[in-house]
């Protein structure tokens, strides 16, 4: 393991990071309207696989796969991959209500389409809570016309702010809305619920949650009973109490 890790030189690691960053930025701008939520790059010896996570995969694929083929050609030409050395796949985001990026884009498009700030934000907060989040907060900051700059916050549920649990439980996204007068900032913070199966939230619960188990039912004792505690089931262990008794 260590040898394999050492073979990936620092230069290669940085190059991988830069590739991922540029790809992510390009896809964020290109697929913003299709609910783009992230990308994963898998390097295999024969080719590189790029998996695009989005909410509207139909739009990402395009008519008969046209758009995704165009994107593949773009990536291949830009990064100088050989023919068919790079493949793009689109994957649907399960439960977009728990994806902060998708919800931030949703607020952005609602505002750009002329919805009132309160309606747009409350709509998103309600959708997120219905999708099973523990808490949600949407902040719209900036200067609207005929008003002073301010930050409008809309929230529901439970939210933590400090410590390692924030890294496990909270997803955040920031988006900019460009207006004539300046820029409005949109921040969406979603606190996930703990999910033992690990699919829709972290596996471990919050560190300060204590579950008190119900006491076990005791069998009714009608007459005195003696139970020998010194002899556990397995044979080798049975030798131990005898040794102790000495």
């Amino acid at each position: 393991m260590a040898a394999a890790a050492a073979q990936i030189s620092k230069k290669r690691k940085v190059a991988d990071g830069v590739f991922y960053a540029e790809l992510n930025e390009f896809l964020t701008r290109e697929l913003a309207e299709d609910g783009y939520a992230g990308v994963e790059v898998r390097n295999t010896p024969s080719r590189t696989e790029i998996i695009i996570r989005a909410t509207h995969t139909q739009n990402v694929l395009g008519e008969k796969g046209r758009r995704i083929r165009e994107l593949t050609t773009l990536v291949q030409k830009r990064f100088r991959f050989a023919e068919s050395a790079v493949e793009l796949y689109a994957e649907r985001v399960q439960n977009r209500g728990l994806c902060a990026i998708a919800q931030a884009e949703s607020v952005k498009y609602k505002l750009l389409n002329g919805l009132a700030v309160r309606r747009a934000c409350y709509g998103v907060v309600r959708f997120v809570m219905e999708s099973g989040a523990k808490g949600c907060e949407v902040v719209v900051s900036g200067k609207l016309r005929a008003a002073r700059a301010k930050a409008m916050k809309f929230g529901d549920g439970f939210m933590i702010h400090s410590g390692q649990p924030t890294r496990d439980f909270i997803t955040t996204a920031v988006r900019h809305v460009l207006l004539r007068q300046g820029v409005l900032g949109i921040k969406v913070k979603i606190m996930l619920d703990h999910d033992p199966s690990g699919r829709q939230g972290p596996k471990n619960p919050l560190p300060d949650i204590i579950t008190i188990l119900e006491p076990k039912d005791e069998a009714y004792i009608s007459e005195p009973v003696s139970q020998d505690f010194g002899r556990p089931a397995a044979e080798p262990v049975a030798a131990a109490p005898e040794v102790e008794a000495q």
Partner: protein, 210 residues
């Protein structure tokens, strides 16, 4: 008594401006309050209480009876802070009637270009009525700038689910309240114009215009 001049730099008489200007008049008195650079449309849509102060169409350089040497501009990028002695040096204190951005876009430079002496009121942007109120405390009541009680960036709660954060400096007033459990507590609240809370709530119902 110092006189206060606000140069209206917004493109209309918005409700926000009206509330702040009314607040200023109630703090310093209508005979000490001047508004300049008011367009015809603004003058037409101004409410009666504002017209009781001095309203001028001209810009601040051409105000009747005002000598530019007696004017002090309150400018966030000035090098010297406002001091109580400035009340004796200057007769008029000039403010930009600007609904500000965060971070500020320095729209006060339009007034700075006109060459008045300037003073600042601290590092944090204030609303225009707060600036007038602070200036009055410093030059009329002779309170040094750093002894005025401030509250920065207050958050106003409308409900458990909604709040608004105002990234400006306000003067703080201490109030005694009785909490739900019956104990007395003293809290600090920002001094905002009457009617501002309803206006903040209404602002969230606006949609963006491009």
């Amino acid at each position: 008594m110092a006189k206060f001049v606000v140069d209206h730099m917004e493109d209309g008489m918005h409700e926000w401006c009206v509330l702040e200007y009314k607040h200023m008049i109630s703090v310093v008195g209508k005979e000490n309050m001047h508004f300049s650079s008011l367009s015809d449309a603004c003058l037409a849509s101004m409410p009666e209480e504002l017209k009781e102060a001095y309203c001028h169409k001209e810009n601040v350089l051409n105000l009747p009876g005002v000598d530019p040497k007696d004017v002090c501009l309150l400018d966030p990028s000035a090098t010297e802070p406002l001091k109580p002695e400035d009340g004796d040096t200057f007769k008029y204190f000039l403010f930009g009637g600007i609904l500000g951005d965060d971070p500020p876009r320095d729209r006060t430079k339009e007034l700075r270009k006109l060459g008045f002496a300037n003073r600042h009121l601290g590092p944090v942007q204030m609303s225009t009525d707060t600036a007038v109120n602070v200036t009055k405390h410093v030059v009329d009541n002779k309170v040094p700038l750093d002894q005025v009680p401030y509250i920065d960036g207050p958050e106003v709660f409308f409900s458990k689910h909604e709040s608004v954060n105002m990234p400006f400096r306000y003067i703080a007033e201490t109030k005694e309240i009785i909490t739900k459990s019956g104990e007395k507590k003293s809290i600090r609240k920002p001094i905002m114009p009457p009617g501002m809370l309803e206006l903040l709530k209404k602002d969230s119902e606006q949609s963006l215009d491009f």
